[in-house]
Amino acid sequence: RYAAHKKKAAQKDSRRNERQPFSRSVFAAGTASRTAEFMRRKSGEDMVDQPVATSKGPSHAEVPDCPLTVTEWASLKQNSLRPHQFEVQMMKRMVAARSSIDIAKSLLTYVAVETGTLNYELLLKYLTLCVHGNYYSEVFDLYEIMKSHFKTLDPGAYSLFIKVFSTTDRWRESFTMLESLSKTMTPSPRNYGDVIAGALQHGDSTTAWALYDRLLEQGLSPNQDTWQALFKSSCSEHSHNERLRDILLFMRDNQLYPGEPLAQCISSWFESLPADNWTGSWTTAGPSGTCQCCGAALESIRLSEEEYGLLKDRVMRDVIMGRDVFTKTTPQELDRFRKFVESVPAFDVVLDGLNVANTFGKGKQSETLLAVATELEKQGLNILVLGRSHMRRHSHSWDRDHMTRVQQVAHCFFTDDISEDDPFLLYAALHSGNHCMFVSRDLMRDHKACLADGTTRCLFFKWQRGHQLVVHGYAPGRRIRFQRIQSYDTILQTDGASWHIPYDPQGQDRCSYEVPTTWLCLRRAGRPT
């Protein structure tokens, strides 16, 4: 059922894309990669991504394909170009080639017979090979040997041992390894994830959750695999349901989206809940912001009054003023701008003059700007055009007549040539109120980065998705169209009776400024609505 639905959705998707390559929002997942592909084809470059050369320079001495005797290894070493690093280099190549461990063992035997001992690096590389090949008994043997020869191990070895031990009967030992590791540095989320998964696999959910708490305490972000393990293990045992809901809320607060495997685990966990009788379905959101599956309205993209006020303050404080007002503007200019904004009625739309003018290569810059401004004016909107002073000077690309007409249809504010205009644009749009949109193709990532904390950045991104208009294609003389703004927020959400979870389908890569377009809809079934 799921696969069939997905296929249908994908077909619909591709048909729509063929017709209009840019019709979706710039923030929808996959748009950036499609645009890049389109531009590449347009410029006539058949640039297929060249596979990166894996081997550095000419490979000296190939990895043998069967175990060698001591004498054979000795002669191979003699013929090699760099005999003093022969063993480690050979082992590295075996790891890269995923050779059989018998060959590696024969190399170790050769070294051990020759020198009477084996060095740490060689053993570590051998360990990597064993872990990749899942040779557990070999890993145990290695652990004993390394433990007896060295006082401690390095973080790399610990990570590998943790990975293997946690999946076997000796999973409890992985706790002590984690302890030893945390003496020198914070273990990675992957280390924690491995131990948690091990504990869950062996039915010790209390320890697993305790470790999960420690992971969060240290400010680390858990891996999706870890969440997947937690959801999976709770499908049979329902003692931690509240905590799993907390995980979902954690994803919501941090604007994280599950991948497809995790989404499937979440779905089956919901479906396994006794009594409630949940059903999950894979769906998309309709243009009006309703779930295509159950018809429920998704959360609006509009910010609450409180959030809005906070964002406005922060943009003024962090983006415009920053540490030093003089970096982006001057106090005089800021004052002039504030007075200007207060002297005119609230705007409906704010234009980034330079960005809009430069959107299309053809024609004069001022002409493009005028066309966009006139189009918006026809819709009866109150417009502000933000620009720099040099736009007012008559030149080849800035026609004075065009600019006079722009000033007739819109309010204009020109910053000094040396100042930045984007922060003013953001503030003007925020100042005008929740209905005000802004027109720019800029993704404002550098301004988003100026904001101090993650929460405000998420808020900024939400506001941006709801208020940024992108000009959708324009040729002189044709009508201007804008890309659609989504009316709903793409975020994990619940209203108690249902959950809606955006997820990343497998095989689709999403840029950091894009949001998924596919949803998991979970609702209680079997009850009359």
Binding site: K105, S106, M185, S188
Partner: protein
Amino acid sequence: HDLAAKKLDLDVWKSVMRSSQPQEDKEEDDDSNDIDDDEEEECSTLESSRELVEMWRLAGKLVPEQISEEDLQALTALSTKSSKKKFLKRLALKEHHKKVDKEKKERKRAQKEAERQRNAEGEEEGADRPLRNTFLMHFWTRSMDALHNWRAAQSMCFGQPLVFDMSYEQNMSKPEMTSAVSQLLESEGWNRRSADPFHLHFCNLKPDGIYHQELLKRYGRDTWDRLLITTTEQHYMDLFPKNQVVYLTADSRNVLRTFDHDKVYIVGAMVDKSIQTGLSLANAKRLQLVTARLPLDNFLHWDMGSKNLTLDQMMRILLTLKEGGNWEQALEFVPKRKHDGFFKAPQLRKQT
């Protein structure tokens, strides 16, 4: 049966390892029980850091062989794995360079020793060589130093001022600071050796600030006190009239077209590896100063790299211009890796 024989061989290394003695003995000093808990804890974290370095070294990572107590503490204070790795790599490279230098010195000394012996043998043969008739006494380095100091003294009376604005202490990390001080030393050196030096001013130099401390450390107290430059806590605006001052910054919109012998050029003494764009421009804007940047784009096919040049490069470019050189000659000091050569005909676009 050949294969079977080989199979039997494969685990030999394990038995070898098991039978061999561990390389290191277990801890030998367990007699330090009388220290209190806090100290013990600190000791144990330091100890585990030391162990970490040791294990990384065994694992073939780039870490120093010897690590001082001070560095170990700095390492323990670092919180993330990548910062630890970076720190250790820097130490390891430093150690390597030191070792290479030492070896080179040793080689040279041996060579000199051999030469001296050969000379001594030669001397014995022709014992009384007549003294050579020379026009000059041996020209020692100190004679050259005296000459440079005369010139520097002259420039302190009549020379054109050049200001290094030392107000960026707070904007630099420790490695940046170190390299900034190196660049200042280098700049001062180039200035001293030129035919017509600038009168160097280190303005906004806070007494006992980081800059002052580092400069003292590098120059030594005596040399620092005898240095023929002006160092002052005062702001450059208090020393020079505003209309004479030009702040040089790569972020400026104005291009420096000609070198003006009546202006006071200001260079921000800052190494900016974290790309804090517009920092010095903001300062100039605050004081409403005239700013300018070098005409790099007008003369060079810029290829890659930041347009911020090092302080010593700036110094040599300005010295060349001061001595009447043209832009081509001056911009020879821009690193070659950053550009693909000069334009055939310099295009000085009209700039406002």
